[in-house]
């Protein structure tokens, strides 16, 4: 089965039985951000995405990101950036200045993300704010 692309983001391949495993989803995330890995803190699940390439026109063009897969601060999931991202024509509400896993992170308010999808899909939906 060929990789499916959604919004320019790789979707994970299912195995022969249509089952997507945890390792598959991490592989898909690693394809987007080499070195991606899962971490937990305080009972919340995160995926660290080092040097994630951001959509065209973003400044910076790439930065470390942290995807929280669990409900946090009233959001079903959240994408944190190592620094605030600027893009001409985009007015983002950066309302998530937090300290997680020993580092400072920044997040914009973006609620158009369904949790009922793959992790890559969740990431893609968060990035839609920058496209």
């Amino acid at each position: 089965m060929d990789d499916q692309r959604r919004g320019g983001v790789l979707q994970p391949r299912a195995n022969g039985r249509g089952i997507v495993t945890v390792s598959m989803t991490l592989e898909a995330l690693e394809a987007i951000a080499p070195g991606a890995r899962r971490l937990n803190e305080g009972g919340l699940r995160y995926v660290h995405l080092p040097g994630l390439q951001l959509p065209a026109g973003c400044r910076p063009a790439a930065t470390d990101c942290l995807l929280c897969l669990d409900a946090v601060n009233g959001y079903p999931s959240r994408l944190y950036f190592a620094e605030r991202v600027n893009k001409e024509g985009k007015a983002l509400n950066w309302n998530g200045e937090v300290h997680i896993l020993g580092r400072a992170w920044h997040a914009y308010s973006w609620n158009y993300v369904s949790s009922d999808q793959t992790e890559v899909g969740i990431l893609s939906d968060h990035m839609a704010a920058l496209r």
């Binding site: 971490l39 305080g42 660290h48 009233g74 997680i100």
Partner: protein
């Protein structure tokens, strides 16, 4: 033993040395933290690191311990006000006032033996406890709230000890996703604050720290004290007292410590 501390010699033969060697961090030097700082200066804590970026305002004077009208006029830093008070009692204390967010000085926070959090949001508690757990530091949290219910005002609060390897604020029901969500979307604004429940809760928190540091009384590994201000009652959480000491925390496994990124 120093003459200033002879009346607390019951804390233990070497208690003055133990306290002198201790390094306590206080995050938030407002209504609760200013009380805590003052008391630590009196009992002989040897090193204190204070984190708060705010300055004194007129509306603080109803509860900010050590603050004067002059401090408000000159917009004095809250950490400097607290440090001044501590040094006036014991000039030998190593006080480090940091006029900023603890998040911007996270490595300094790690040097503390114990952290007392006197912060005013669930989000701050969430982050601060996580940082303390990652560095294997016991975290004492103080919270006070005035809320309206059935046409009356009620004062409540809590003091909790979050000890690495034992129950955390989520286990104790202090931090919940519902509470964090309400805070994210709730109305911002000045919350009511008054001095006497701050003092009561701060004193209880100092007592928890003293039980941790000195051998006078074998304190428990998990503490949750609930304050019902209208009834003037400060009580130990019954479940925690009876069952909680043996309970384990699933939110902060010991393996999730240190620099992992």
């Amino acid at each position: 033993m120093r003459e200033e501390l002879v009346r607390q010699s019951f804390l233990g033969v070497d208690s003055d040395e133990i306290l002198a060697a201790a390094h306590v961090g206080i995050v938030g030097l407002g209504g609760g933290g200013s009380h805590v700082a003052q008391q630590f200066g009196h009992v002989g804590i040897g090193s204190l690191t204070l984190f708060d970026r705010d300055r004194a305002e007129a509306s603080n004077l109803n509860r900010l311990i050590g603050a004067t009208r002059l401090d408000v006029d000159v917009c004095a830093l809250k950490v400097d006000i607290a440090a001044r008070g501590i040094r006036s009692v014991n000039p030998a204390v190593r006080v480090r006032p940091i006029p900023g967010r603890w998040q911007d000085h996270a490595l300094v926070l790690r040097e503390c033996d114990v952290i007392v959090g006197c912060v005013d949001s669930f989000s701050e508690r969430w982050q601060l406890e996580a940082a303390a757990r990652a560095a294997l530091i016991p975290y004492i949290d103080i919270g006070m709230d005035v809320h309206q219910a059935a046409g009356r005002y009620a004062i409540s609060g809590q003091v909790a000890l979050s000890m690495p390897g034992h129950l955390c604020l989520r286990c104790m029901g202090i931090l919940t996703e519902a509470g964090l969500a309400r805070e994210q979307y709730g109305a911002a604004g000045e919350r009511p604050q008054v001095v006497w429940p701050n003092g009561l809760l701060a004193s209880a928190a100092v007592g928890v720290v003293m039980e941790l540091l000195t051998p006078w009384f074998p304190g428990p590994s998990s503490v949750l004290l609930r304050f019902e201000g209208n009834a003037q009652e400060l009580t130990s959480d019954r479940w925690l007292k009876e069952c909680g000491q043996q309970a384990t925390c699933s939110h902060y496994p010991l393996a999730e410590v240190g620099d992992r990124l």
